[in-house]
């Protein structure tokens, strides 16, 4: 039997995670896993499985918009995906051998780091215009600056290392890994924030799929958890993208960071077998 109350609860939670995530620029994953484990008492491996599925839905939907508007750098994304996917396969395989306590502890720690980076100003490195016959470099039209921006891609090895780590994080914890990729691209590779965010999103779906089949075959994707989470997060993210430009996110961000830190502490306590509700 399935409890329809639980079911609706998970959908609502998904909407909330997607909405908040889209408003402050997070993928839903970092919020979904702790909410499913702490509120719905789902096993952490199943929560991560559900998060991977939900992350594919939101990142593909966002990437569809970005790529249509020409913000994503397809060639750069493809290049870095070679390493995000390998990282994700490794992460997904390793996750199966890690106990739920240790996984909770790792998740809590990563969550604290993500919460801290939310407060940091998004900065760019020096942007150098690309040569006309450079295929890897990108260009897009910035609607706010009313001009075409072109940029050259530098330091590819930095991007590959960051991509491998982001893939690990995706396969192990079910999060998108943008927190590693975006700064590596903007500060390390000379890519404008807009293109870096769009390209990161473009890569997240493929990265998540690289571990999704591993979770599926291990029975860690519970359809009754994954489907309502994915639908909820998808709806929430769409809604969030619409309301975000109209509200002040500064206060919201502060509240969210406090909530994230509280959940992170609970995840870490869980690692030591202490349940706080």
């Amino acid at each position: 039997m399935v409890s329809f109350a639980t079911f609706l609860g998970i959908t609502v939670l998904g909407v909330a995670a997607g909405l908040l995530g889209a408003m402050v620029g997070l993928g839903g994953g970092i919020l979904i896993v702790p909410l499913l484990t702490l509120v719905f008492r789902e096993p952490i491996h199943n929560s991560i499985g559900a998060s991977i599925v939900a992350v594919i839905a939101t990142s593909s939907a966002a990437a569809s918009t970005y790529v249509g508007e020409g913000f994503s750098n397809i060639r750069l994304g493809m290049t870095l995906e070679t390493f995000t996917t390998i990282g994700a396969v490794v992460g997904g395989l390793v996750a199966g051998y890690i106990s739920k306590n240790v996984l909770s502890g790792i998740f809590g720690t990563v969550m604290i780091l993500v919460a801290i980076t939310l407060f940091r100003r998004k900065s760019e490195g020096k942007i150098i215009p690309k040569d006309p016959d450079d295929r890897l470099g990108g260009s897009y039209h910035d609607p706010y600056l009313h001009k075409d921006v072109t940029y050259k891609v530098r330091n590819i090895p930095i991007g590959l290392v960051a991509s491998f780590l982001a893939g690990n994080l995706s396969g192990l914890l079910g999060v998108g890994g943008g927190v590693i990729k975006v700064p590596a691209m903007t500060l390390g590779m000379g890519i404008p924030v807009k293109a870096a965010t769009a390209t990161s999103n473009f890569m997240i779906g493929v990265t998540a799929v690289a571990s999704a089949f591993i979770y599926y075959s291990r029975g860690m994707i519970d359809p009754l958890v994954a489907a309502p989470t994915a639908i909820g997060v998808f709806l929430g993210a769409r809604l969030g993208a619409r309301v975000a430009p109209r509200i002040h996110t500064r206060h919201l961000l502060s509240i969210l960071v406090v909530v994230m830190l509280a959940m992170a502490v609970q995840m870490i306590l869980k690692a030591f077998g202490i349940e706080v509700r």
């Binding site: 039997m1 399935v2 329809f4 599925v53 594919i56 839905a57 593909s60 939907a61 990437a63 569809s64 918009t65 790529v67 249509g68 020409g70 994503s72 397809i74 060639r75 493809m78 290049t79 995906e81 070679t82 996917t85 390998i86 994700a88 396969v89 997904g92 395989l93 006309p132 016959d133 295929r135 779906g205 493929v206 998540a208 799929v209 690289a210 571990s211 999704a212 089949f213 591993i214 599926y216 075959s217 291990r218 029975g219 994707i221 519970d222 359809p223 009754l224 958890v225 994954a226 489907a227 309502p228 994915a230 639908i231 998808f234």
Partner: protein, 125 residues
């Protein structure tokens, strides 16, 4: 000569713009279709709650059961469609790069497809 280079560059730009639009639709249709199939399965499950299960089966058997109207199998096929969407996107990129005769990026895209294929085989072990 430089005129030909410029023509080649213009052609590349045009194909790139097309690829952007094609990828836009591939991703959009994939996500929308999978959400629709999940919702269909959930609605059917609502009328037949006894069919509820927290487990997934082998992919081929699940697809067959979905065509027989099993609500859980339909929900799972929705999830699998979602998982296939980025994979189809990679295949679309391979075709796009091939059309552009951009062998280097065709090879890179094929490498990504190989890693995804490898992950399915590892999963099946």
């Amino acid at each position: 000569m430089s005129n030909e280079n410029a023509k080649a560059a213009a052609e590349r730009k045009r194909v790139d713009v097309d690829l952007n639009q094609i990828l836009h639709y591939v991703l959009l249709v994939g996500v929308m279709a999978s959400i629709a199939v999940m919702l269909l399965g959930l609605v059917l499950l609502f009328f037949n709650p006894g069919a509820a299960s927290h487990h997934t089966g082998p992919i081929v058997a699940t697809v067959v059961a979905a065509f027989h109207g099993n609500p859980m199998a339909i929900i799972t096929v929705g999830i699998l469609l979602l998982m296939m969407t980025p994979a189809i996107r990679v295949v679309t990129c391979i075709i796009g790069f091939l059309v552009e005769r951009d062998w280097a990026y065709t090879a890179i895209a094929v490498a990504v497809a190989l890693v995804l294929t490898f992950s399915i085989f590892v999963a099946a072990e």
